[in-house]
Amino acid sequence: MSVVLVLAALLAGTYVVAVLEGWASTGRLRPAGPLVSGLALLGRESLVPRKPDRIFFEVAPPLLLVAAVLAAAVLPLAPGLIVTDLATGALFVNASFAYVMVAVLMAGWGPDGAYAMVGGFRFLGQLVAYSMLVVMPITAVAMRAESLLTTEVVTSQVSLWNALYQPLGFALFFLAAMAIAFLPPFDLPIAPGELAEGVLAEYTGWRLGVMRFGRALLVLTLALAVTVFYLGGWFGPVLPPWAWTALKTLAVAAVMLSVGRYVPRLREADVLAWGWKYGIPLALVNIFYVGVVLLVAM
């Protein structure tokens, strides 16, 4: 039952994220936009480049979708509303997002095109920059919850959200989440002006539809992960728990989608340099700080 409910919630959420994405890029709110675009994409030819690596080309779009949806299986929407409350849930979130890189890299290699290829390899570099910044802040979150169960992570925040308890970890995880979803200013693999859509450049028709859907779903699950790990999950007054999860998740998604509009895209070398020179030391400081606070509280 909860599987069906979660899937329905994810579908609805993805649709709203797609609407928000349209709003962030055009400044207009078109509630029917994604539906119309989706139908139009289904009616359009889905071309295959002349010399593709066929397997990579075909597998990349569904893989992106799968990578995005996997994490949602271990993230609670409300008490009891979770597909599987895995004992290693927090780690599983991290592991499932790793497949995003595989999907993007395949989409870059598959079509045998220069823009796509550069885009795909850029994302591989980006992974090197963001991956530690996903797992290290999660470590600090798990330390406070004394558990890797995502439901425990939520209940550990009943008195104070992690966003306030460990703001440094929150900021790092938020930025890393944007980098995973290659949202501006981390949109190096698609880089509309530089690479003419990069890894998406050769996808058309329904395959492009699947890619876009996968990306929107990815933004949603990442926003959900931020909500669960840092914004107290379903906790909130008056409204039912699921509504709080939905509101927080969509608010996070809206911020993730729109901040990149006001800054230039980062250089790949800078993303890497900052990720390792500042990001990782700060993540260590965060872990240390949380450890000290926990010890003192004991």
Binding site: T26, A40, E45, D112, M117, P192, A196, A201, R261
Partner: protein, 593 residues
């Protein structure tokens, strides 16, 4: 049965497809030829007409042709059209003859109102004819694939049929080419269309384009030893590659284990000492991050630009047609030369002819001209901000600068222009305050100190070079904007300051409309003039025979700056190379052969 849409998709229009057709009509995405920059200077706003602008023809359903297209661009547009997935259509906005493209589905003049009507018409066509039982094919020479056979050792040996090399006796190997140079092609997923033969980065299709991905020939680049098959993964199979002779990134065939050393053996070595696969990729003439019409081919070494080729005169646009024009029509003809700054070139022609007639415009006319020229400069710089914003991924700047540019160009009088001053001021302050922007651009596009430059590029290098320094401008308290740095960030700051300055000058001049020239008969047989166009000083010399212009000699800033493309792009990462090129603000229309 008539086919309502030139690019309808071959399929029986059953109910579900009708729904898709309805959706396609509501969700129009356009790929603009020559580019959004030209569309805006023509006062065309597709976004306001309800059409999204796509970055690649692959994601577009409508090919929008703006203005008269030169030969070179028509071919590129045809390739872009062939790359668009069906259903697709062509919308011509103030365009002339468009062959080899098929007849446009909708034809409107370059005005926003007509455009809106044209878009409505397109929507109707899509709703009715997105799917048809008979769909028209599209097949032109430029996109057809041809196989030729070449000797692996002697690239000059080519043949139409298989055989052996007369020089060394080796078997000739097949290589694909199209329209004389080659495109990637592609199969259509089972729809039986024949015309999607051009693909891949080809988007950006220099029509000699694309195959460059496949056909980079190292020997051409002076890298002996690499041989034609230096394409990375293929060395183990030297001599027996069937159809994988090219330099595509691997051809994706199966191969056994191969160490990096083996794989990169004999490939050219980059400046950083790493051996990587080299790939040729066209960036232009229809690349979203560069001015529409500018044609570059980067040889990519990983994601570093190892080499740039930037052919001059790729547009097939030249002054030839102008050289025997009646003096009366000459200013109008010169204004058509560069759609990005028509006013400056019209003024240039007028002043050259006035010089020949030995007349001087009265003060009022001169002021009106200053107003028109400065309005154009402000609009041109804003257009540059918009394009630069797109390249930078700074969407807010792209959108906002484009809007203000359109408002400036549409303003009826100096007061309306002056009203934009506050908006421009806000934009300028916001750009100055943008986090990470200066850092992003610092050190990009640096030119050698000895480089001869003009316009904002020179003024951003600390040189007070400005053709406006004398005459009427002195009475308007004009001082050239000078910044130090000689890089992309200095050019951005210079142009930001110049937009504000130009709007102040418009206010002082009190007029923005370009006066018709009052030409008197020329007294002398030659005349010359220099005008500071938005991109720098342009000089024109004309020779006259009676009332007819018999010869012209035009030097333009873009022609001058074009030579620096290599200097700002080579040995840079792709994004940095593109930003460096874009910072020069080249107008491909003003690049002489």
């Amino acid at each position: 049965m008539t086919i309502p849409l030139s690019g309808s998709r071959e399929a029986r229009p059953f109910p579900l497809r009708r729904l898709a057709a309805w959706a396609a009509a509501r969700d129009l995405a356009a790929f603009i030829v020559p580019g959004p920059d030209v569309a805006r200077t023509c006062g065309i706003d597709l976004d306001a007409a309800g059409v999204r602008v796509a970055q690649t023809p692959r994601h577009a359903g409508v090919l929008v042709l703006v203005g008269e297209l030169p030969r070179g661009l028509k071919k590129a547009a045809a390739v872009a059209y062939a790359q668009m997935p069906r259903p697709r259509a062509i919308l011509a906005v103030g365009a002339g003859d468009v062959s080899p493209l098929p007849e446009p589905d909708v034809w409107v003049t370059a005005s926003q109102r007509e455009l809106a009507a044209g878009v409505e018409e397109l929507r109707r066509l899509f709703a009715e004819g997105a799917f048809a039982t008979e769909a028209a094919g599209f097949d032109i020479e430029e996109i057809r694939m041809e196989t030729e056979y070449v000797c692996p050792m002697h690239p000059e040996v080519t043949s139409d049929e298989p055989g052996s090399c007369p020089k060394c006796g080796m078997d000739l190997i097949p290589r694909e080419s199209a329209g004389g140079a080659g495109h990637e092609g592609h199969d259509d997923a089972g729809h039986g269309d024949t015309d999607h033969d051009a693909s891949d980065p080809g988007v950006l299709v220099s029509h000699e384009g694309h195959g460059s991905n496949d056909e980079m020939d190292y020997q051409d680049m002076g890298h002996e030893g690499g041989g034609e098959d230096s394409g990375g993964h293929e060395h183990a199979e030297r001599g027996e590659h069937e159809g994988h002779d090219e330099m595509d990134h691997g051809g994706h065939e199966d191969m056994g284990f191969m160490s990096m050393v083996e794989m990169t053996q004999g490939t050219p070595r980059s400046s950083d000492g790493l051996q990587m696969e080299w790939t040729g990729a066209p960036f232009g003439p229809l690349f979203p991050g560069l001015p529409g019409g500018l044609s570059l081919t980067f040889t990519l070494d990983g994601d570093t630009v190892a080499n740039v080729t930037a052919p001059r005169g790729a547009l097939g646009w030249d002054l030839d047609g102008l050289e025997t024009a009646p003096a009366r029509d000459f200013p109008d003809l010169l204004a058509l030369l560069d759609p990005l700054s028509p006013t400056a070139y019209r003024l240039l022609a007028l002043q050259a002819l006035e010089d020949a007639a030995n007349t001087v415009a009265d003060e009022r006319t001169t002021l009106e001209r200053v107003g028109a020229l400065e309005r154009e400069r402000a609009a041109s710089h804003l257009g540059w901000f918009s394009g630069f914003g797109r390249l930078l991924g700074y969407s807010w700047l792209e959108a906002r600068a484009g809007q203000i540019q359109l408002a400036l160009l549409r303003a009826a009088d100096a007061e309306e222009v002056a009203r934009q001053e506050t908006e421009v001021g806000k934009l300028v302050r916001r750009v100055y305050r943008t986090p990470m922007l200066a850092r992003r651009l610092k050190g990009l596009g640096t030119l050698p100190d000895t480089a001869e430059t003009s316009g904002p590029v020179a003024r951003a290098a600390g040189l007070a070079k400005d053709a406006r320094s004398g005459g009427i401008y002195r009475t308007l308290d004009f001082e050239p904007v000078v910044r130090e740095g000689n890089d992309a960030v200095a050019r951005l700051w210079t142009r930001l300051a110049e937009v504000e300055q130009s709007l102040k000058l418009v206010r002082k001049a009190g007029a923005v409309c370009f006066p018709q020239g009052m030409l008197t008969s020329p007294l002398r047989s030659t005349g010359s003039a220099t005008v500071e166009t938005p991109r720098g000083a342009a000089t024109l010399r004309v020779k006259l025979q009676g009332d007819v212009v018999s010869a012209t000699e035009l030097t333009t800033p873009s022609s001058l700056h074009h030579q620096f493309i290599g200097a700002v792009a080579e040995e840079r990462e792709v994004a940095d190379a593109l930003l460096g090129v874009a910072s020069l603000d080249l107008s491909p229309w003003g690049v002489a052969r």
